[in-house]
């Protein structure tokens, strides 16, 4: 029956984009036989934002408040990729302290988004408390961002040339107290999720990502690491201060949703560990280098690809400059394209219709990544 869309044998269903189980503004067109899905097609086009085109019409500095909006839960990776690209093209040396502050920001962001998506995994199978708690813990991290950058969601903080402001007075203490608070309460969340019979029933052995698909499809992040891969940009091509931090890549080999949830859960511990390391090793010095006149700032012609490890895997920016006041072309490469189109369409075949959102969330699909310019 696989692949069948026969109207006499299968039932069509348009799932999303308004369905609460969908990970955002996307939909999946499905055909199923009984409870079993025979074919799935991912549809995008509900986010008419066209970021990549917008960026071509803005000054280099004006793009820096824009890029963070590409990803709502983890805005900083965009700022980081964009800043790295601009700095490399223009030959800007970022001060040491700024590099460490950036690493701190990236890990805080990863912590926040992993708390949300780990809890969210429980939410998709009806364990709403877990989802709420995950969001609550993330809110503690957002309080830190508010203190640091003045914004909770869009931080507009990592700028080309450094960061925008130094750490506020007493920030280390605030961070440590939030880490302690989250660390203390995480076991409660574990009891609702990882150590919950319902959670296990719905996730163990469900949503299998075969290890051979990793290279075939170019899977990255927790999706790949949940199937035994050790792929992590932080380790493979260290950027900012990651090369100076002591950590091991988190990996699980269950290949199912439970494994991916476990990877995220262990990533939370890793992020908290890294944040403590960063705070201890944070050097002094300036936090940014002065930039030229922002409205007359021309970047020398060239092209560059920069990448970082986002909570969803490798995340990259391809930036082309023609030497003018504005970028000639920017392409944003997010992992959701392969995860939510190629992989999801393959994984859903044969899956139970009740597991669709469960599988989708386990891939932490971010629809804007799929259709950014299209």
């Amino acid at each position: 029956m696989n692949g069948s869309t026969d109207p006499l044998k299968t039932t069509p269903l348009f799932f999303g984009p308004q369905h609460p189980g969908v990970t955002g503004n996307m939909s999946v067109e499905m055909w199923f036989d009984g409870d079993e899905i025979t074919r799935a097609i991912t549809h995008v086009g509900y986010l008419h934002r066209g970021f990549e085109k917008l960026m071509e019409r803005r000054l280099w500095i004006q793009n820096f408040p824009l890029v963070c909006r590409i990803c709502v839960p983890e805005s900083d990776i965009n700022e980081e990729c964009y800043a790295l690209a601009v700095e490399k093209l223009d030959g800007i040396e970022v001060p040491e302290r700024a590099r460490w502050i950036r690493t701190l920001v990236l890990e805080l962001a990863r912590l926040g988004v992993n708390l949300m998506s780990f809890g969210g995994q429980a939410g998709t199978i009806g364990l709403g408390t877990g989802a709420m708690w995950g969001i609550t813990f993330r809110d503690f991290v957002l309080d830190l961002f508010e203190e640091l950058s003045g914004g909770r969601i869009y931080h507009v903080y990592v700028q080309p040339g450094g960061v925008r402001r130094d750490l506020p007075e007493g920030f280390k203490k605030s961070v440590l107290s939030v880490l302690d608070k989250i660390g203390e309460r995480l076991p409660e969340l574990d009891r609702l999720t990882l150590n919950n019979a319902v959670f296990k029933q719905r996730t163990v052995g469900v949503g299998i990502v075969k290890p051979e698909w990793i290279d075939e499809m170019g899977l990255v992040g927790p999706v790949a690491r949940g199937s035994g891969s050790r792929r992590d940009v932080r380790k493979d091509a260290p950027y900012e201060a990651y090369g100076e931090l002591d950590f091991e890549v988190v990996t699980e080999d269950g290949c199912d949703i439970y494994s991916r949830a476990l990877v995220r859960r262990r990533e939370i511990d890793l992020s908290m560990n890294l944040i403590r390391q960063i705070l201890d090793l944070m050097p002094g010095g300036p936090i940014a280098v002065p930039l030229p006149n922002l409205t007359e700032w021309r970047i020398p012609p060239g092209e560059i690809y920069t990448r970082v490890e986002s909570s969803r895997g490798e995340y990259g920016y391809y930036v082309v400059s023609d030497g003018s006041l504005r970028p000639r072309r920017i392409h944003v490469r997010g992992p959701s394209y392969v995860h939510a189109v190629t992989l999801l369409e393959r994984m859903l075949v044969g899956a139970n219709i009740a597991d669709v959102s469960n599988i989708m969330v386990s891939l932490t699909t971010c629809p804007p990544e799929i259709e950014r310019s299209r």
């Binding site: 500095i61 004006q62 809110d139 508010e146 203190e147 409660e188 009891r191 019979a197 936090i287 006149n293």
Partner: protein
């Protein structure tokens, strides 16, 4: 699956007995952090309406609008930002680039209103609850330097090197330095309002930044035919209002003008490319004086098709500006380059042609209009005992006699009385002639009318600046002169004027010198005007009063430059000449 997996979820109920994490709004609220990016605040008195916030806003949320009680003045557009919160994305770029630092964000993020139109308002003008709050995202320009940056330093000769000759102190920018400096301009255009001639400053700075120097020179000549001179000695009111000067250093507009002019061997060649004057219109205008005002009027009139005759009592043009400003500030090398422009434009020069009473009457009959730009010819008199002694001279005449050629003996010990540019020029010239120089000034250094840069360079060159010295008398001694003065205290003027110096005590101090130069201002010599004309002119303090078109009120007679009231600098004279040219053309057209 373990048994604990069935039990453990129920343990979550223990949370029900603990304090909730949620904030029970409105019983309790959650104020924004100290750095929160909330609604805008704007200090309207600090804001200069440069529009930098509007320029940088990527959402077009900010528009510059007129507000009540705010008028456009020099260096202030009178406009203030209005923010549309339907568009604002709270990125605070506007705050970080605000040239005066007037704009900031409060930590307020909640503002319920039932009026959708109220979501666009003018921070600071439309009163809001958060106007007085101190918290929120404020500018810190110390590291980012987005709101103001240091200027590209102009290479200058070292002080001990430069006092050895009259060679120009300023060495000039390289093309890279000029591009970097011109590229700092934020194109707000406030400088244009401050420049007496309203030069196209943002446009020519952009041309220089882009390496298009000939375009820059053409833009200069649109409203200033003496850019070579202005590039060296302009009083640069433009720089005093430069938006970049509030938190960084003003753009070196004067030096960039100098750079573009120096780049070309001949300015007339640059202009000739696509500039053609109008056809001759058969009208003739006489101009008295070849100072900046006269030359400016002559240039623009000629370009408008007038036959322009300029009368000069000396053998060369340029006026006091060219003759009295020392070589190390305004080298005579640029003189020919400038005069070449006027000659090629078709201005007819009559040198050694002093205009006296009878000539004026004849000229005013023969010509369609007369523009009087005779300047200030006399040094002001000073009335303390001893000014008639041998060795006491007027600084103005000293400078006019070209001290650089070494024909004048400056003396070993020189004292200059005064605090204007003439005083500083005299002191620095004497220093170059090998003298030990003291400047004695009645008020404080900050009250000196001389250019700050000149004062600083004088100090660097080892000139002894003595402020708050009231001159009493000059006595003759066996070895020279004894300058007697008293120390002064500054008393605030109740009328709001600048503080006045009064004697501190009865003690008299003396300085032994060889020469004393008096530099306390210049005055006009209007003796060349016949009674028929001067009786009808409105003359106050020795200056001919004119209207906004430089018209004297006497038929066909216009005046401008130092002989009329004004700032008394080159650029004001140039602007006077241009205004007079336009007015003469207009009156001839309507006749």
């Amino acid at each position: 699956m373990k048994f604990t997996d069935i039990v453990s979820p129920f343990l979550a109920w223990s949370r029900a007995a603990k304090k909730a994490d949620t904030i029970p709004y409105p019983k309790k609220s959650n104020p924004g952090s100290d750095r929160y990016r909330g609604f805008h605040r704007n200090d309207l008195d600090k804001c200069i309406g440069c529009g930098r916030c509007e320029e940088i806003c990527q959402n077009l949320a900010i528009s510059m609008v007129e507000v009540k009680d705010s008028q456009p003045i020099k260096g202030d557009s009178g406009l203030r930002p209005s923010v549309d919160y339907g568009r604002c994305c709270w990125c605070a770029l506007c705050v970080d680039v605000c040239s005066t630092g007037s704009l900031s964000l409060s930590n307020s993020y909640s503002w319920p209103t039932d009026n959708a139109d109220a979501c666009a308002f003018i921070p600071g003008s439309d009163e809001k609850a958060w106007d007085d709050s101190k918290k929120g995202y404020c500018q810190d320009n110390s590291i980012l330097q987005w709101a103001g940056s240091p200027r590209v330093e102009m290479p200058v000769a070292e002080p001990d090197e430069r006092i050895k000759s009259f060679e120009e102190v300023v060495r000039g920018y390289s093309p890279e330095q000029a591009a970097a400096e011109a590229g700092r301009c934020i194109q707000c255009g406030l400088c244009v309002t401050a420049c007496p001639a309203n030069m196209h400053i943002p446009e020519y700075l952009r041309a220089i930044a882009n390496g298009d120097y000939s375009h820059a020179v053409k833009l200069f000549f649109d409203n200033n035919p003496l850019p070579e001179m202005c590039g060296k000695v302009c009083t640069r009111e433009c720089e005093s209002v430069c938006a970049m000067g509030y938190q960084g250093e003003a753009i070196a507009i004067r030096w960039l003008k100098r750079f573009a002019c120096e780049w070309f061997e001949s300015l007339s060649d640059v202009l000739a490319v696509d500039e053609k004057p109008l056809e001759p219109n058969g009208r003739r205008v006489a101009i008295v004086g070849t100072g900046p005002a006269g030359l400016s009027a002559a240039y623009y009139l000629t370009r408008m098709g007038f036959e322009t005759h300029v009368f000069e009592k000396d053998g060369e043009g340029g006026g006091v500006a060219q003759s009295a400003i020392p070589e190390y500030r305004l080298p005579s090398g640029g003189y020919e380059k400038q005069m070449d422009v006027f000659r090629k434009a078709g201005v007819k020069f009559h040198y050694n042609a002093e205009v006296c009473c009878d000539d004026i009457l004849k000229i005013s009959d023969d010509y369609d209009a007369v523009f009087i730009a005779a300047g200030l010819q006399r040094s002001s008199e000073f009335t303390i005992p001893g000014v008639d002694l041998q060795g006491v001279e007027h600084a103005f005449y000293f400078l006019m006699n070209h001290p650089e050629d070494g024909s004048i003996e400056a003396g070993r010990r020189v004292l200059v009385v005064g605090g204007g540019n003439v005083a500083i020029d005299t002191a620095r010239s004497c220093k170059r002639l090998g003298a030990e120089v003291v400047i004695s000034y009645r008020r404080r250094i900050e009250d000196m009318p001389a250019d700050d840069e000149e004062i600083q360079e004088a100090v660097e060159e080892g000139i002894d600046l003595r402020p708050q010295n009231i001159p009493i008398r000059i006595e003759e001694t066996d070895s020279g002169l004894l300058y007697i003065y008293a120390e002064a205290l500054m008393i605030d003027d109740p009328a709001g004027g600048r503080p006045k110096p009064v004697r501190k005590d009865d003690i008299e101090h003396g300085i032994e010198v060889d020469k004393v130069f008096l530099a306390i201002g210049q005055s006009s010599d209007l003796s060349f005007l016949p009674d028929e004309i001067s009786d009808n002119l409105n003359i106050k303090w020795g200056r001919i009063q004119v209207d906004e078109h430089q018209y004297t009120g006497v038929k066909n007679i216009y005046a401008g430059g130092d002989i009329t009231p004004g700032a008394g600098d080159v650029i004001t004279a140039i602007a006077d000449g241009m205004r007079a040219a336009k007015a003469i053309a207009e009156s001839c057209r309507t006749e």
